[in-house]
Amino acid sequence: MSEPFQELASLNKLIHEPGRLAIVTALSACESADFVFLLRLTGLSKGNLSAHLSKLEEAGVVMIRKEFAGKVPRTVVSLTNDGRGSVRAYWEQLERLKREAGKWRPVVEPA
């Protein structure tokens, strides 16, 4: 296997998973969003979104905090500085791989 394809395996798997990718990409476009907004935006189930957020929080990618709007609790999620850097690095790596894979041509062995 040639280099760009080998490098695909080295993508940040924590971010690469579709559900988590949707969450972190959405969060990278805003300062913070609450659980309900992410739920509607990503189309994930409550359980899945919660599990993904827990994983991202454990890895230090997102920060979760509780707020109260009157008496109603609200879960607000935002990217940490490290998380923002990881998302940026992920997209840059993917863009670079896409360019390199586009240039790649199979080497035909002479018969």
Partner: protein
């Protein structure tokens, strides 16, 4: 709220009652806006835009103001022979013609997220362009947007602006969602872990 200045200015409500009416309406508007906001956030969630995105919004504001209040009137007066009284007089309300155009334009630009802005912009524009003072038989034929109703109509403009700001962000995020596909459709195996959203 929109009718209060008219009622007060035209003498329908006078003296201390007018202040009581204004205070009561402000209180009602405050309670109502909090309820609407709570309902909206409960239904659609809350998203906060990235703060301080540089000079872009400020320059856009300056640019639109220069275009609407200086360039277009200047060009119309210079090359189309339009009277300067059109922009300064009371027959039509030029500031609200500009505001209505901006609302209408933003509504089209961010469609389908801003139908409210399209409707409000078109309504504002059409009302600002007709001699409403004459039609309503107001004293001196003064266009109401240039007198009593100026503040309420401006408030309407600001509300529409808030819708625009939010909808722009939502549009951006939905674009991301479209590009990523539907992560909810991916079989990740549902979990019962709802601890953080409890």
């Amino acid at each position: 709220m929109f009718l209060i200045p008219l009622l007060v200015d035209t003498g329908v409500v006078r003296g201390g009652w007018s202040w009581l009416l204004v205070f009561g309406c402000l209180l009602a508007a405050d309670i109502l806006s909090r309820r609407i906001r709570r309902w909206y956030e409960g239904r659609f969630g809350l998203v906060r835009p990235v703060g301080g995105k540089g000079w872009g919004p400020f320059l856009s504001f300056i640019g639109l103001s220069l275009l609407g209040f200086v360039l277009i009137p200047g060009l119309l007066v210079r090359f189309m022979g339009v009277s300067t009284a059109v922009f300064d007089g009371d027959v039509l309300s030029w500031p609200f013609v500009v505001l209505g155009s901006v609302l209408l334009g933003s509504g089209f630009m961010y469609r389908p997220y801003l139908p409210f802005n399209v409707i409000a912009g078109a309504l504002l524009l059409s009302l600002a362009l007709v001699p409403l003072g004459d039609l309503l038989g107001l004293a001196g034929g003064v266009h109401p947007f240039n007198s009593a109703a100026r503040l309420p109509v401006l408030a309407l403009g600001l509300i529409c602006h808030a819708f625009t700001a939010h909808a722009t962000l939502v549009r951006e995020l939905h674009q991301i969602q479209l590009e990523l596909g539907d992560p909810g459709a991916v079989g990740n195996g549902d979990t019962d872990n709802e601890s953080i959203c409890a």
